[in-house]
Amino acid sequence: MKLKAFNEKCSGCGTCRLACAIENFQEVNPSKSVLRIEARFPAPGDYRIHLCDQCGVCADNCPEDAIQLENGVLLVNPDACTGCLICVEVCPHDVMFEQPQSDVPAKCNLCGECAVTCPRDAITLVEEQN
């Protein structure tokens, strides 16, 4: 499975980001979420959803091999991570985040809450296609 974004359906409401923060951090605090909604206003007047599509650039660039595939999801192993944050720099979607209270960056774990809660089906969980 992977997340897929449909930009044209997004209305920028941010429900996905709040759900992400509650599900993964137990906080009512969207600044912790691991996806971004880019609002392009006043022109061209649309939204761009930036989320982790498990592309693997983070894992490929991790000097400690701390980002590993587990059950089809790339996850950060906190014991192996040294906090160098190279993954945050190289992420092509800017959806790996430095965390204020931890050396280990936050990454999407494909919990799917963003897709479940999006009221407009702008984010969905789809079967991975090779």
């Binding site: 044209e8 997004c10 409401c13 429900t15 759900a19 009512v28 605090n29 007047g45 649309d46």
Partner: protein, 635 residues
């Protein structure tokens, strides 16, 4: 810990350049909930009586509610409050978008701004970092332009409020703008912000709001989304948003047209929701957490100019498409854009421009006074007047005062067709055959605004009916029977005032309930789970009633000779029969109007001059207000 709330008030004194964070009082949260409840209580207790709206001592309050920023449908509301530049009494204006949640994530429930900055400034808030910063470089910029410039400078993760030239020049119906198309539009809150030399507020928050039972709140929040999305109105109402009511309001003859001379615009299908979808729309644009976005963002092209613009929403369609008779959705959208950029409320502007055109047609205002000929159905007239108003140039200086003051200064009978109550211009529903809605406009605490009660369903369908069902049932363009005027109108209006105003205290949008028919109980349940204060909807309504009497008491205190006469509509609405359309020939008599007020005052527990009685104030838990008004000889 105060669950649900951020737990703090941020006080900013622009004269002294000082900021202070203080705990949110427990009693304030318990007795006034939030949002407009906070606005009303703080204004009544802290604003010295008799302060003029543009005096530096006047307060500009931005208040969220306990539901703001939480996981439930459309929890993005902020309430702005002040002593009203429009009426001299109580004012608040609510806004969607993303600002309120961000204020709470920064750690504050309420911002209380007093004083006046020595030079143009903006307020910068990033969690506990709060600074009053220079804004000379932004002064004079349009609201949208300035917002983009602040975002470019500070980052896209800041939520921005701005005012435009109209706010800077204290146009009495200047708005506060946000998110490239949302506004706190009404009552002149933007003018108060301008009078304080405050161009903008930028806020970013990275903190969590505490919740009494987060797991349960998240589950119930998700359930609320599912249930809202299961309502027929979700599929039926959402695509066109508020603009979708345009056909219906014309088919039943309540669409203000040509300065309220009539209530039906023959060209309504060229300015309706479908026209927006067919000719303007790029994307739906939602407020925080909203599954049913009203915002339709698009691009408009006219011979006079092109622009990106959010909207127009229904009220703008009614006041520019109907009241000024702009003939196409493109023209209405361009007027909408210009108001947004200049920072002017589209509702009040549409009333003021309509009044000016009628004055010109009647020879009351001359070409020499105005600077050119002006006419209905003429976008160039609208552009000319809006530009003048925003900068208070020439005729604009008179019109910037609002239709009440402008008509009083102009005289020659123009007062009788200056469409307002208490000084706030009338919004998008003509009521000469809708007695309950007429009463709602007459008694709304901020002036002639539909926000506080919307009871057209009672007038036209005989019962409370959600907006989607009204639209779906259709109107038919058929002649309407003359409405029956009865004391039931008072009950309908009070019930609606209590309910809608409760949402304004909770900090949540009411649209899912009012427009789609979502139930009320989930809101009480979510309030209880989030805050840990178990309250039924009925108990919350009782607090809403308390707030209603408090806002009335504030206006009694602040407006000289406050009384029954200030609840009357302009003479046109009880003397001139509707000129055309389904309600042609209908009018409510002055006697009907007086009866409606009499029944309303009795039901509210006010005396027949419209002042809350001591017994009523004590009953709703405001004995100190009764003491205060008595001490001032006002009770």
């Amino acid at each position: 810990m105060m669950y649900g709330y951020a737990g703090a008030i941020l006080r900013i004194d622009l004269s002294r350049g000082s900021v202070r964070k203080e705990p949110l009082p427990e009693s304030l949260a318990a007795n006034f909930i939030g949002g407009r409840g906070f606005v009303a209580k703080i204004l009544y207790d802290e604003l010295a009586p008799g302060i003029e709206p543009f005096d530096p001592q006047n307060m500009l309050i931005a208040a969220t509610g306990p539901l703001t920023g939480h996981f439930l449908p459309a929890s993005g509301k902020t309430h702005f409050g002040t002593k009203s530049p429009a009426t001299g009494g109580y004012a608040d204006s609510n806004m969607g978008g993303h600002f309120g949640p961000q204020v709470k994530y920064a750690g504050y429930d309420v911002l209380v701004i007093t004083g006046k900055a020595a030079s143009p400034s903006y307020l910068f808030i990033s969690d506990d970092t709060v600074e009053i910063r220079p804004a000379e470089a932004y002064w004079g910029q349009g609201s949208i332009t300035a917002e983009k410039n602040f975002k470019d400078r500070l980052g896209d993760d800041y939520q921005i409020l701005t005012i435009g030239p109209a706010g800077e020049n204290t146009v009495r119906y200047a708005c506060i703008s946000h998110d490239f198309g949302r506004q706190a539009g009404r009552t002149g809150v933007g003018a108060v912000m301008g009078s304080k030399n405050l161009k903008a507020i930028a806020v970013k928050g990275t903190q969590s709001i505490p919740v009494a039972d987060l797991k349960d709140a998240y589950a119930k929040g998700k359930e609320a989304y599912r249930n809202v999305m299961a309502k027929p109105g979700f599929e039926g109402w959402t695509p066109e948003g508020t603009a979708g009511i345009t056909n219906w309001t014309n088919e039943v003859g309540v669409f203000p047209t040509r300065n309220f001379q009539t209530s039906y615009a023959e060209h309504y299908k060229d300015i309706n929701g479908k026209a927006i979808l067919d000719r303007l729309k790029i994307t739906d644009k939602g407020c925080f957490g909203c599954p049913t976005p009203c915002g339709k963002y698009g691009h408009t092209k006219t011979p006079s100019g092109s622009a990106y613009v959010e909207g127009p929403e229904y009220e703008t369609i009614a006041l520019f498409g109907g009241n000024c008779e702009l003939k196409t959705i493109e023209e209405v959208a361009y007027a909408n854009y210009l108001c947004d950029e200049l920072g002017i409320d589209t509702i009040s502007a549409g009333v003021v421009v309509g009044w000016a055109i009628e004055c010109f047609q009647k020879g009351i205002l001359t070409r020499e006074e105005i600077g050119r000929d002006i006419d209905f159905s003429d976008l160039k007239t609208v552009i000319f007047l809006l530009e003048k108003i925003a900068r208070r140039e020439g005729i604009g200086d008179l019109l910037a005062e609002g239709v009440k003051i402008a008509a009083e200064k102009t005289g020659q009978g123009s007062e009788r067709f200056a469409i307002h109550v208490k000084g706030l211009e009338w919004s998008g529903y003509e009521c000469r055959n809708a007695p309950s809605m007429m009463l709602a406009y007459m008694t709304a605490d901020v002036g002639a605004h539909h926000n506080r009660a919307w009871v057209l369903g009672h007038d036209l369908a005989g019962a409370w009916t959600n907006v989607h069902d009204l639209i779906a049932s259709g109107g038919g363009d058929e002649a309407q029977p003359k409405a029956v005027v009865s004391d039931r109108s008072a009950q309908y209006v009070i019930a609606s005032q209590q309910t809608r105003s409760l949402f304004d205290a909770l900090g949540n949008c009411r649209l899912q309930m009012m427009e789609l028919g979502f139930e009320e109980e989930p809101y009480a349940e979510l309030y209880s789970i989030i805050t840990g204060r178990t309250k039924s909807w009925e108990e919350l309504l009782n607090i809403s009633e308390r707030i209603w009497h408090l806002t009335r008491a504030f206006s009694v205190r602040e407006i000289k000779n406050f009384g029954r006469h200030l609840d009357l509509p302009p003479a046109r609405l009880y003397e001139d029969p509707i000129a055309s359309g389904p309600n042609q020939g209908h009018v409510l008599s002055r006697a009907d109007i007086e009866n409606l007020l009499t029944w309303y005052y009795e039901a509210r527990g006010w005396d027949q001059t419209g002042i809350p009685t001591r017994e009523t104030l004590v009953r709703v838990g405001l004995p100190e207000v009764a003491e205060d008004l008595e001490a001032k000889g006002l009770l």
